[in-house]
C-alpha cells in the first residue's frame, strides 16, 4: 500500500491532496521547483484505492497493489502472508 510520486512529472495542481479519501498527500516545496509538489506524507494510511491515480492529470502517481502485511490482530494473518509470497501451492 505504498504510493510512489514521480516528482519530476508532478505539475503541482494539488488534486491528489483534495481527492484522497484518507488524506495521504500534502504539497511540499522542493528545491528548484517553482510550485510545491505532491508528497505522500502519510503513506501508512493508503488503502490502494487508486483514486489519486484516476484523478492525476500528469500521470505521475503509482499505487502499488501489494497488500501491506496484515497486522497480527488479524485472524489467519500468518496463513494469508504465507500464501501471498509462497504462491498457491
Amino acid at each position: 500500500m505504498i504510493c510512489f510520486v514521480n516528482e519530476e512529472r508532478c505539475v503541482g495542481c494539488g488534486l491528489c491532496v483534495r481527492v484522497c479519501p484518507l488524506d495521504v498527500f500534502r504539497m511540499v516545496p522542493r528545491d528548484g521547483r517553482r510550485k510545491p509538489v505532491a508528497c505522500a506524507v502519510y503513506p501508512e494510511d493508503c488503502m490502494s484505492c487508486f483514486i489519486c491515480e484516476e484523478y492525476c492529470p500528469a500521470n505521475c502517481l503509482y499505487v502499488s497493489p501489494e497488500r501491506s502485511p496484515l497486522h497480527a490482530v488479524w485472524p489467519f494473518h500468518e496463513e494469508i502472508e504465507k500464501t501471498k509470497n509462497g504462491g498457491n501451492k
Binding site: R18, V19, P21, D23, M47, C49, P65, R67, P75
Partner: protein, 574 residues
Amino acid sequence: MIWRGYRVSEWTCDVLMIGAGLAGLTAAWAAAREGARVLVACKGFAGADGVSPFAGGVVLYLLPEDDEDGFLQEHERLNEGLIHPEVLRRVIRQNTSLWQAWGRWGAPLEREIDGSPRRRWLRIGGRSHVPRLAVDSMKMMQFLRRLALRSGVRLLEQTCITRLLQDAGGTLVGAVGFQRQEGKLVIIRAPAVVMASGGCSWRGAHMGQHNVMGDGVAIAARLGAELASMEFCVSYVATCSLFDSHGQCVLAALGGKFRNSLGENILIRHGLPEPAPTHQLALAMVLELLEGRGPIQFDLRGISENERRDWEERFPLVARGLRRTGRDIFAEPVPWFPGFTGSIGGSGGIRWQRLGGETNVPGLFVAGDAAMRTPVTGAGSGITFLNLAWAGVSGLWAGLSAARWARGYLAAGPEWTREAIEEGLKETVGPLERRTGFSSRSLLRQLQQVVVDPCVNFLRTREGLQAALSRIREIRRETEMLRARDWHDLACCHEVRHAALVAEAMLASAVVREESRGWHRRLDFPNRGGPEWEVWTAARLRQDGADMDFEVQLWLPSSLGTEPPEGADDLLRE
C-alpha cells in the same frame, strides 16, 4: 473568527449533508431541488468519497413486468427474514424510477443501441436471476457530483464532523467539526441534518472502505438517536490475498468455485447453494480455515473471456490492482480469504421511523449505510445490487423530507447556546491539546483485535460476547484519552473514538438476540428463532453517572411508517 487560537470558519445552511457517497449526493441534490440551501460536509472528495466508488456497479433494476413477488420471496428466504415487504417493495419501485431518470440525464450506464439502460441478469448471492444495470461506479459518482453542484449545493471537503448541536428542547441546530488539511475548526448552523456518512468497517481488510469508521452512527448515538439491528454489523466478503479486491459475488455468480486445501468445493461440503448468499459463504470460509483446511482457492478458470471482460469493466480499479500483481487470477486459482467489512455488508445503523429517514431526534435524518437497512436486506447482506438501490432511494427520500423540515422550522429560527458550541469545539480539539495519551493507531489495533475475531463476531456465545463487551468498554474509555500528533491524526483519533462506540452497540445488541440468523451466528443458540424473534433490536446510549452504556430493546416491524415523502416522482419526471 478565532477561538482560543484556532481559526474557525462559520457556515449557515438549511440542510447539512454529512457524507458524500451515493446516498449523500443524492440527498443533497434532492434537498436542493426542493428549495433548500444545502451544504455537504465530507471527509474526502465529493464524488470519490465513501464506499460507493468501489461498489461494483451492479444495481437492481426491476421493471413492472418482472416477477416482483418471486424476487421478494427468494430474497426473504436467502437473507433469513426480518425484511419489511412493504418497505422493500417501495424501495425497489422508487429505485427503478430513480435510475431511469439518471439514465435520461446522462448517467454512465451501459446502454442499448436506442439509448435505454441495458438490463442484464445475474445469479448473484444464490438468487435465481437478478435483473441489473451495469454502472461505472467511479464515473457515476462524478456524475452525481456535477448534478449536485448544478443544483447549487455547496461542498465542504476533507472535513470531519465531530458533534451535532441541539437546542435546549433537544432539537437539532447544527454541527461542529474541523477541516483536516487547513487545520481549522468548522461551525455549521443547520436546522436539518442528513446523516449519510456510511457504515463502520473498523478498517477491515477490504478495498476502499478504510475511510468509513461509523462516524455518523456514533455521533447520532451520542445525541440520543437509537441504533437498530446492530448485531448484524459484522459482514465479511471474500477477498484476494494478493490485493484487497472486491467483486467476489459477481465472480461467484459467473461460475467461480471456492476450494479448500483438499480440493473440495467448500459450498458443496457445507451443503450450500452455488453461488451462496454472502453470509453463508463467509461462515463456510471461516470454518474451513479454523478447522485447518486452508488456504481457500478461488478457481475462476470456468469463466469465459467475455464474462471476464465484463467483470473487468465493472471493477476497473480491482482489475488494475490485480494486473499489477503480475498474477492472472483467471488462469490459476489464487488464495482468497474472508475479508472483514463490518457493517458495510450488514444491516445495522441509525434507526429511522418513517421512509423519509426521520429519526427519534427532531431534525436528524438518515440515509444509506448509516441508516438501518434491515427492512430491505433483513438479516443478511444486500450485496451490491440492493445496497446501491437503498443508498440512492433513501438519499432521495431523506433529502426531500429534510428540506421540508428545514422550511417548516425556519420561521422560528434555530436557537443555540454559546455553551453548546464551546463544548463541541473543546471535544473536537481535545486530542490535539493533550500532552500525553494513547495513539490512534495503537487503540485501533486493540479495537480490531476484539472486533475482527471470528469467535466474537461470527461464532458467538454469551460469555464470549460479554467478555468482548467489557474489553470494548475499556477501549472506549481510553478513546477519551487519545492524543493527536497533528490535524491529520486528529481525524484518525475521532474515527477510532466513533468506531469503538459502534462496536459497543454491536456487541450489546448481539447479546440480546438469542438465536442465529443471517450475519448473527450464536453457538449457544444455533437455530433460527420462532416468530417471537421476528423483531428488531434498538440500542440507545444511556448516561450512567460519569460513564455510559447501551440499553437494548426489541421492537416490532409493524411500528415502521411505510409512506415515502410525497413528490419524489415529480422530481424525477423532469
